[in-house]
């Protein structure tokens, strides 16, 4: 067992974990953060994507011990005071989800994408979310949602959206 200390969605946790435990297992099985899901076991589908110190990672490809001392942000930590993150809102507004299983990972990856490139073209969005598989939507409305969120998260867009974006893209859970 190894002792780890992490901040997940703004709360600090200390736990003893098996060295082989994956971050996604730690989130789901130990912290009850079942909003983050497992889709493939081979890091192809991206359903388990979370932010680790502000950057998107597939939490099936990170050991829990590697998250020691780090901040983790999951889909469950995106809302601020009951306000959806602009990306969550954009997924809803643009019907960018059907069964919703890929959605947590897709949203987390899309936020990361806009952190790197706030004004991506359609092709850049498609390439930016290439590591996240969706079987329901054909991706078209996901692309629309990311474009929509990008326009709303631009500096000068509404204050709520702007501040929400900055906090999360910066990886701050707290």
């Amino acid at each position: 067992m190894a002792r780890i200390r992490t901040t997940v969605d703004g709360l600090v946790y200390e736990d003893d974990v098996e060295p082989r435990m994956l971050l996604v297992q730690y989130l789901r099985e130990r912290l009850g953060k079942t909003g983050t899901v497992i889709g493939c076991d081979t890091s192809n589908c991206g359903a388990c994507t979370v932010h680790l110190d502000g950057l998107s990672v597939k939490s099936c490809s990170v050991l829990a011990v590697q998250a020691n001392g780090s901040e983790v942000l999951t889909i469950e930590g995106l809302e601020r005071d009951g306000q959806l993150h602009p990306m969550q809102q954009a997924f809803h507004d643009n019907h960018a989800l059907q069964c919703g299983y890929c959605t947590p990972g897709m949203i987390m990856q899309s936020i990361d994408l806009l952190g790197e490139n706030p004004d991506p073209s359609e092709q850049e969005i498609r390439e930016g979310i290439e590591g996240n598989l969706c079987r329901c939507t054909g991706y078209q409305n996901i692309v629309r949602a990311v474009q929509d969120a990008a326009s709303k998260m631009k500096p000068g867009a509404s204050a709520t959206a702007d501040s929400g974006a900055k906090q999360t893209v910066a990886g701050g859970g707290a």
Binding site: E18, R20, Q25, R28, G32, K33, T34, G35, T36, V37, I38, G39, C40, D41, T42, N44, C45, A47, T74, I75, E76, L78, E79, L84, Q88, F91, H92, D93, H95, L97, Q98, C99, G100, Y101, C102, T103, P104, I107, E122, Q123, I125, R126, E127, I129, E130, G131, N132, L133, C134, R135, C136, T137, G138, Y139, Q140, N141, I142, V143
Partner: protein, 830 residues
């Protein structure tokens, strides 16, 4: 239908954002694997690495020593080898059905079949210990090729049934009286200088549904009712089948389908693992969970498609089809799934498609092999048929020297000819193929792209343009119960809904269909809001739990709206009917003087009225209501459709094919679909997008490939290549509308349309791009390697097929070696 045109807002037709999104975008989800119960145990299934083998012995002693392991069971320990998992569709009276156990007892019949199960405190411990189970196998010859499997002296998958043929199902329009004899039509064509005969063999590769949520089942045996949570499309069917299969009292079982992450047909099943989880939970008296890995899912969850299609069409030189003969071999895999044998049979009604074909024969033989079983996958039998006919239409047009759309136009049913009874005996109620096609051609700029194609040809561009057509219809909204009965299906096709009017005027609507991404909660709320004249937000849709929704036939076959949605309408009509005498009593008027609109009963010609929500409160109080009736306006309805629904559309695809690398790039995709009246255009568009992606994926990317030992080569998502966002483009979609006349909402199904239509459009476009180089056909998926090889072979270069990495994704070993020697397809096989 109760119209609410005078109501302030009409919900039907609005692009309402979905009610179900909030939980899904915030992570407050209830997937089966999220279920955590005190004392929960976990199981891992030990699976056969061999496709066909005798089990000589199983040593569980080492596994039992692993700390945290509670038990290790073989089939005999649980009686799992005595279980007969159900097949609900015996397609013929003499169908051969092998026993399908929950765990193999003495012989395994496909790689991945379970032979033992480990129960442990955690899933990780169970998996570790499963590695310690020693199984002694005696390998048998695998059975992989359908034609070889039917030959005399072939190794039998199930020696006890004496054959590898499951069933042969034949429809002949001459015998049915719905058309002429194909044998005569073809004979006549052979000796007729004014006719040609076009023969082709097409291959429908094996696919995997690949729902994003891996299957999971939790069973809690500790209460009065045994509770099963399962990631299933069919909680009601599952409950009844568990009772029938295991001899459990049906009223002692409760099945819950919580949030379900996609299905596409892949979760229409009574899975061995569901039964196994139940058996273990019963044996130990403890709650037990099974969650599959993705590899387990690809290996053992049922596959789809996998047919060899031999098609023969006779056609006059001026382009009139005179006969169509269809001969299919359909790979069932090692066992029969819940509806597996019926899947290819659904194609019998669809090969004639939108065309007027005077003589038609369909002859399908289902074949057992030592592969994972096949069953429903989005479209189920109809994509296969649509691919066959739409590819053949292009081939025939080519031989006739006719423009492919012109050839289709000459043969399709004209809009003024509806309702039209087809040669396969279905009656299409409505449609307008001309309207959808004209709009699609215009959106696509068909003539412009043909010009561009011509210019690229003339310039000899490396990237050649191809244009493909698919004009399709399909039968969905499964299904009229009497029709299912005539096809020997084991159940009906009705659907139920109940409406509970709560004291505060809110409505709980219990439905028998079971959504897993379709947006039922939103669409049905819109329907109820219009029917009852209550606010959209005052409606709650309850589903997926046999305790609240005790009766239903679940979700598949694009039936939820066209059947389940109509049950909702019927239930609402009953609520209004029951409320009417109470309204009359409250208004001191006669029932005959009342009219209902916008949620209110009003006395004709006055402004006196009472709202349905107020009546709900009045019957709750029940202080004052008419003599002789019950104080209750709740209602339950069952709707059995009189016909299928027949969505149709025109799909046009343009691709760029790099003639040096074989890479196919989607260039433009236009589809105009007629799905009848639309309840929610946003949801309809989403269904079309997703359907297109899956159909395009069959054409370009996906194949469940086996090696010559029967080992699945595409056992992870590294090898089974789903399209990513970067592989697809934005589609131009639109709708034309002819309302269905067989249901009160005028709706047709939409869930499968995109998948059914798109595959042949894409393959037709790929071939259209390189046919001038001498390429005649390419098997799916048309991977760069296959396209490149086809071009090389056609141009006289031998290519390097012998050096190919046959284990690469989409390399085509699912087609098996014997295909290679078969015919004139080029580049299709390695």
């Amino acid at each position: 239908m109760t119209t609410t045109e005078n109501a302030p807002t009409q919900e039907i037709g609005r692009d309402r954002r979905r009610k179900e999104d909030r939980r899904l975008i915030t992570g407050r989800t209830r997937w089966t694997d999220n279920q955590a119960l005190t004392g929960l145990l976990h199981i891992s299934v030990v699976r056969s690495p061999f496709a066909h083998a005798e089990i000589k012995g199983i040593d569980t002693s080492a596994a039992k020593q692993v700390p945290g392991v509670v038990a290790v069971y073989t089939a005999a320990d649980l009686g799992a080898d005595q279980v007969q998992l159900p097949c609900a569709w015996p397609v013929t009276k003499d169908m051969k059905a092998p026993q399908r156990p929950a765990l193999a007892g003495s012989r395994v019949n496909f790689a991945g079949e379970g032979v033992a199960v480990v129960v442990a405190r955690s899933a990780a411990i169970a998996k570790d210990a499963a590695e310690q189970v020693e199984v002694d196998y005696d390998e048998l010859e695998p059975v992989l090729d359908m034609e070889a499997a039917l030959a005399d002296g072939a190794t039998l998958v199930h020696p006890e049934i004496g054959t590898n043929a499951n069933a042969q199902w034949v429809f002949d329009s001459g015998e049915a009286g719905s058309g002429g004899s194909v044998a005569e039509a073809l004979q006549k064509a052979e000796s007729d200088d004014d006719q040609i005969i076009v023969k082709r063999r097409f291959r429908q590769q094996r696919l995997v549904p690949v729902f994003m949520e891996p299957r999971s089942t939790v069973v809690d045996p500790s209460g009065e009712q045994l509770v099963m949570w399962s990631s299933t499309q069919v909680p009601h069917i599952l409950k009844t089948m568990l009772a029938l299969t295991l001899g459990l009292p049906e009223h002692k079982i409760r099945v819950i389908a919580p949030d379900v992450g996609g299905g596409f047909g892949g979760k229409i099943a009574v899975a061995p693992e569901e039964v196994l989880t139940l058996l273990v939970a019963q044996k130990l008296g403890k709650p037990v969970k099974w969650t599959e890995t993705r590899s387990e899912s690809l290996l053992t969850a049922h596959h789809g498609r996998d047919q060899i299609q031999d098609l023969t069409m006779s056609v006059t030189k001026d382009g009139q089809i005179t006969g169509l003969d269809v001969k299919l071999l359909a790979d069932m895999g090692a066992y029969l799934g819940l509806v597996g044998p019926g899947v290819p049979i659904l194609g019998a009604f669809m090969f004639n498609a939108i065309y007027k074909i005077p003589a038609y024969r369909f002859d399908c033989t289902n074949v057992f092999t030592t592969k994972t079983l096949t069953d429903a996958y989005r479209g189920a039998g109809r994509p296969e048929a649509t691919f066959g006919i739409e590819r053949l239409m292009d081939e025939a047009a080519l031989e006739l020297g006719m423009e492919p759309m012109e050839f289709r136009r000459k043969n399709w049913i004209k809009h003024e000819e509806f309702p039209y009874t087809t040669v396969s005996t279905l009656t299409y109620d409505t449609g307008n193929y001309e309207a959808a096609t004209d709009q699609a051609l215009q959106m696509f700029d068909y003539d412009g792209l043909r010009r561009e194609q011509q210019e690229r040809r003339q310039r000899g561009d490396v990237k050649q343009l191809g244009i493909g057509i698919s004009t399709f219809t399909e039968m969905c909204g499964l299904a009229p119960s009497r029709v299912l009965g005539s096809l020997d299906y084991g159940a009906g096709g009705w659907e139920t809904a109940s409406i509970r009017m709560l004291p505060t005027g809110k409505a709980e609507v219990v439905v028998g269909v079971s959504p897993h991404g379709q947006g039922h909660e939103t669409a049905f709320s819109q329907i109820v809001a219009d029917q009852l004249g209550v606010p959209f937000d005052d409606v709650e849709i309850l589903h997926g739990d046999t305790q609240s929704s005790y009766k239903g036939l679940d979700t598949y076959g694009s039936r939820s709206l066209a059947v389940g949605g109509i049950a909702v309408v019927k239930a609402a009509e009953k609520v209004i009917e029951k409320a009417k005498p109470i309204a009359a009593h409250m208004l001191e008027a006669s029932e005959g003087d009342l009219e209902f609109s916008g949620g209110r009963f009003t006395v004709k010609g006055t402004d006196k009225g009472v709202g349905i929500q107020d009546i709900a409160l009045a019957v709750f109080a029940a202080h004052d209501y008419p003599e002789g009736i019950e104080p209750d306006i709740d209602a339950h309805a069952t709707f059995d459709p009189e016909n299928f629904s027949f969505p149709h559309g025109t799909h046009l695809c343009a691709v760029e094919v790099d003639t040096e690398t074989g890479f196919v790039q989607l260039y433009k995709y236009v589809c105009v679909d007629d799905v009848g009246n639309v309840i929610n255009p946003l949801i309809v568009e989403g269904q079309v997008h997703g359907g297109l992606a899956q159909g395009i994926a069959q054409a370009l990317f996906e194949e469940a490939a086996y090696d010559d030992q029967g080992t699945l080569l595409s056992g992870t998502l590294v090898d089974y290549t789903l399209p990513t966002a970067a592989d697809l483009i934005s589609f131009d979609t639109a709708n034309t509308t002819t309302a269905s006349t067989t249901n009160p909402l005028g709706v047709k199904g939409v869930g499968e349309a995109g998948t059914i239509a798109s595959t042949p459009a894409v393959v037709n476009s790929v071939l259209d791009a390189i046919r001038h180089l001498g390429v005649k056909d390419i098997d799916m998926p048309t991977t760069p390697y296959r396209v490149w090889s086809a071009i090389q072979n056609a141009s006289g270069h031998a290519g390097r097929a012998d050096e190919a990495n046959v284990a690469s994704p989409g390399a085509g070993l699912g087609s098996t070696a014997s295909d290679i020697s078969r015919g004139d397809t080029q580049g299709g096989h390695l």
